[in-house]
């Protein structure tokens, strides 16, 4: 394990500019649209990657070229033209705005409702912010603390340069290049993402990424995250941000891989609030993500997601319970409004003995949206005495939306116990009236009822995320019961 030199680190942080990890090489050029082997080579060269990684990308590209875009999900959209996308563009230098007055007032209103501080509002909407000494020192002490413990937390690009052996050992081991169409595409052209390594026996003392949210903006459309928790370690990782994120990139095909070694535990929480498009769904983001974790002996991976954004979502955070006594969890709230479409769920693959999984999925559909849960619980022949418990509930806000459940269960071991519960309910006029009669206004009443419905999942989020996520739910459903 390489240790980071403290002095060097302080130098780096207190140095000329605010630069660590996530905001490295700023190039000015953008590749012209189109995808071919040359483009893959160029990306790899620009990122100064070792040969093994270039070959890995090329292999992925070859696989992808022979694949077809899947169409089994319960979503309808115009398929993106993959030759019309530019696959390498320098980290976008967003036009800096002089003050908040220049920012879209709608965006500000939402942020205000979310309770985001003024400084943060400026940062998120691209207004030039003077970094006060204080925030730098917070970041420094934060990095120092992690370094002391041997935790590595940096961009994937940096990790490839600084810790190639760790990346090489784990990259693609959970989501191989040929896993699926979008994963193959991502493997060929990913530009950056996050890397996180927790050494043996270390309990990471803070939620990773809370202090780094700034660096998460603009990571691009083909993001790749790799989290490795070594034996007996623990980490809680937060992805995303409750603030509305507008992006010119229509297609997002990210990959997240988690490796949880013996007795390690990883909690991965996401709040996704990409731009869903206008009332007719125009201009919204397509979010096609592959997220998967691998559990070794007695390891645990817990996915928690609150999904409110994107025009089309296609996402199944999954767990491969390979080690005996390992545990997988999936807690999800997916909200769709207007013309949004979400096909989301999980896969729990039980391979080891006495493996356990829990799935709690809460769908909320409104407007003319379509919200599907798709889940697979697979018990392999060797998975003696394994257990799964699934709950998938749907809440309908209007008569025009749709909620669908596609649960697949494959049990190949007779000792397995699988429980599945599903309910569909419509938000009741009676419930809303009851609240109103107590002096609670309609919008607030809907918020209250929805939060109550999603409570089992919201409770799983880390504290600081949970409050914002609750507000986000309310905002996402504003004006949805008419």
């Amino acid at each position: 394990m390489e240790r980071i030199d403290e002095d060097k680190l302080i130098d780096e942080v207190t140095g000329k500019s605010y630069e660590y990890g996530f905001t490295t090489d700023i190039e000015s050029e953008t590749l012209s649209p189109g995808l071919n082997e040359g483009v893959v080579r160029t990306i790899s060269a620009k990122k100064n990657e070792p040969e093994w990684l270039l070959n890995w990308r090329l292999e992925a590209f070859k696989v992808w070229s022979e694949m077809n875009e899947p169409d089994w999900a319960h979503v309808e959209y115009e398929k993106p033209d993959f030759q019309a996308i530019s696959y390498y563009s320098a980290p976008k230098q967003k036009k800096e705005l002089a003050s908040l007055d220049e920012v879209d007032p709608e965006l500000l209103k939402t942020m205000e409702k979310l309770g985001i501080s003024l400084e943060e509002q400026k940062r998120l909407s691209g207004v030039a912010v003077d970094f006060v000494m204080d925030s730098v020192s917070v970041a420094t002490s934060f990095k120092d603390k992690l370094a002391d413990l041997g935790v590595i937390f940096c961009s994937l690009g940096e990790a490839i340069q600084e810790h190639p052996e760790l990346v090489r050992k784990h990259l693609g081991t959970v989501v191989p290049q040929r896993d699926n169409y979008y994963a193959a595409l991502n493997s060929a052209v990913f530009t950056d993402g996050s890397f996180c390594y927790i050494p043996k026996g270390v309990r990471c003392p803070m939620e990773l990424s809370t202090y780094f949210r700034i660096n998460q903006a603009g990571t691009g459309q083909f993001e790749r995250t790799l989290i490795v928790a070594d034996e007996g370690s623990y980490v809680s990782y937060l992805e995303g941000c409750t603030a509305p994120q507008r992006d010119e990139n229509q297609l997002h095909a990210a990959v997240v891989e988690i490796i949880s070694h013996d007795e390690a535990e990883v909690r991965y929480s996401t709040v996704q609030n990409w731009y869903p498009g206008d009332k007719d769904g125009k201009g919204g983001v397509f979010n096609f993500v592959t997220k998967r974790g691998l559990c070794h002996r007695a390891a645990k991976i817990s996915w928690t997601q609150v999904e409110t954004g994107s025009a089309v979502t296609w996402k199944y955070p999954s767990c491969i319970l390979k080690g005996d006594d390992s545990i997988g969890e999936f807690f999800s709230v997916a909200v769709t409004n207007n013309k949004q479409q979400a096909d989301t769920g999980t896969k729990m693959i039980h391979i080891g003995k006495r493996t356990r999984s829990t799935i709690i999925s809460k769908g909320i559909s409104s407007g003319h949206s379509q919200n599907s849960y798709r889940g697979l619980v697979q018990i392999h022949p060797g998975a003696e005495n394994s257990r799964n418990f699934s709950v998938c509930d749907s809440l309908l806000m209007t008569d025009t939306c749709g909620a669908h459940t596609f649960p697949y269960i494959e049990a190949k071991n007779p000792t397995a116990q699988i429980e599945h519960e599903a309910t569909t309910s419509k938000i009741g006029d009676d419930q809303i009236f009851y609240c109103q009669q107590r002096g609670i206004e309609e919008e607030e009443a809907i918020g209250l009822i929805v939060k109550g419905y999603a409570k089992d999942v919201l409770n799983k989020l880390p504290m600081e995320f949970a409050v914002e996520a609750q507000k986000l739910l309310t905002i996402s459903l504003e004006g949805s019961v008419g």
């Binding site: 009741g428 006029d429 009676d430 419930q431 009236f433 009851y434 609240c435 109103q436 009669q437 107590r438 002096g439 609670i440 206004e441 309609e442 607030e444 009443a445 209250l448 009822i449 939060k451 109550g452 419905y453 999603a454 409570k455 089992d456």
Partner: protein
Amino acid sequence: MLKINNLCAKVGDNEILKGLNLDVKPGELHAIMGPNGSGKSTLAAVLAGRDSFEVTEGSVDLDGIDLLDLEASDRAREGVFLAFQYPIEIPGVSNLNFMKAALNGKRTHQGLEPIKAKDFLAKVKECSSLVELDGQLRDRSVNEGFSGGEKKRNEIFQMAMLEPKLAILDETDSGLDIDALRVVSKGVNAMRSSDRSFIVITHYQRLLEHIVPDFVHVLSNGKIVKSGGKELALELEEKGYDWLKEPSHDTSNA
């Protein structure tokens, strides 16, 4: 305090209230009795602002405010409280959070700061002891898994928390055993004061032995057809309602 003048209301094409008049002064408790389908629960719902009923005529004035002009939530904030005949379950929302939202809604309306946690808890303690609602029920989700009696006690608990000007009790006695009836009545009686009025809707005289009314009205076919003192309830118990029913000229609903 409350002045109902020639109130007419319908659901779809079905007229239910047909020119109802009622005058309630501060501190008074009016009982409204009447046969099934006479419009008792509709009156409660219309006063509370349920929008599935359409008011076609008449006015309702609460201390100079035109109630019919307000949203249900604003009526509540102005001091109208309805104890539901069938209290609604709201899974996942704790009774306490629910009450806090309600109380703070009212306080915001009155230009007050949200209630302090300490004061809130003290109030909860005081009000829940009034109806012998134990701590567990307070912390559970609103009405979820409550027995019939617990739900009704919870309604009175909420009433005590919100301290309304006008409390409407819609068949609060239905589904209560004798002990629960006593507890609920005790709670209501404790809340009676010179500046709070009650409209108590009930089928049975039984409730009025515990909650003694100042006036009793008989509602029949959408109108008040007889009014009297508390002794009228006894008379009704004895004779039933038939002798009061207006000869019906209604031939449309054949």
